[in-house]
Symmetry: C2
Subunit: 248 residues, 2 copies
Amino acid sequence: MRQNIYDNKEFYQEYDKMRKEKKGNNANDLIEIPNFRHLVPNVENKKILDLGCGYGENCKYYKELGASKVLGIDLSTHMIAEANKSNKLENIEYKVMPMEEIDKIEEKFDIVLSSLAFHYIKDFKKLIKDIYNLLNKDGYLIFSQEHPLVTSTILSENIKSNHQIIDNKWYLLLADYNRIGLRKKEWNDQIVEKYHRNFSEIINTLIEVGFKIDNILEPTPSEDAIKKVPKYIYQYDRPYFLFVKVHK
Amino acid sequence: MRQNIYDNKEFYQEYDKMRKEKKGNNANDLIEIPNFRHLVPNVENKKILDLGCGYGENCKYYKELGASKVLGIDLSTHMIAEANKSNKLENIEYKVMPMEEIDKIEEKFDIVLSSLAFHYIKDFKKLIKDIYNLLNKDGYLIFSQEHPLVTSTILSENIKSNHQIIDNKWYLLLADYNRIGLRKKEWNDQIVEKYHRNFSEIINTLIEVGFKIDNILEPTPSEDAIKKVPKYIYQYDRPYFLFVKVHK
């Protein structure tokens, strides 16, 4: 059965709390959102599909920037309820739907977005093919995901920590980079299932399906972000997220 | 002054010895060459430029496969002398020339190749622009280099080793991935200068210059290679080399 941690009450209560209490000071607000928005082209009069839309913050943001219509889908009924409550505008639609079933959607879009959700998907090639089919000519796909350096390592039981900080650098213990597949990681006291893919797997899949690569981002932190959260300087040692922009 | 370790007698004597004594059992023969050749398109009647051609083995190989002309350049007079001695055929030319000066070459080529040399180049964007200008329409560039995971880490003086082997996995201590620039590494008792670039720097530079990405390889070892050199299994933990194929 498909994993749906965002409908697990214990998980989402912790997650909601984290996002609210650290509003403006978490990795989403300081790293993911500004880098992602930097990549998105002009959305005026464009139809947008947001895969794994969560609270719907991006849907609202791009609708207000002039998108003609936004469809946000998410696996989690909790997230879609929150989105309808907090980020609903005219011509935004929210739908409970797993990303694995977007081949059932019958309309086409100019831009497909997805923020920090693709690392939950097992069959990446099917997903990318489905997105390609949903896009109009010259349409864009922009996505972020956990960086391959973050998803890579399976720690041996004989290793206590995945890193050590020495002389103010964050040394990551990295292994299994070329072992693509399932990873189980603890987050908010739950075991979360993710899929590790190396760079070539991600890039070659996009190319094989027919996309052209526009840009890849492995961001370093802004000075402002480091002031707010000093440990963000360790993104110089390894980035948290990977951002990819491609077009049809 | 430009680094030229392959004309340093102490260095090249060790290097020549390693390549000869381990013939068939070194990383060039078991990993780099087969993966590289897998990426090269049909060379029949094509004009080829080999950047950092070393002993000229690839020049000879592609000439024998039907290339109309091959120009091999290398910074090292020692390497070019060896190439002329061992791998000279009609319509192969070897020239002592640093890769930084290929903008002086006046002919055009259908395929540009470079094996394990780009990590010595400081100004990657100039190099890629120069190659683009030397290529005919629809021409290909195929190159290999040390993998970014290999060039990344600058070890603190308080760290003894860059890795540890636990439960038969090779855990790399990784830092500085997002710090692009000079690295000094010991090899054959010499300090060798290399340049670390992360993935996005490599890919975005190619795209900005105008290339389209065809394929990226981060190889895992063949069973045959593991039988010959058991430690090659650790390429599942991190690849040694990165291969990139792009076209104009």
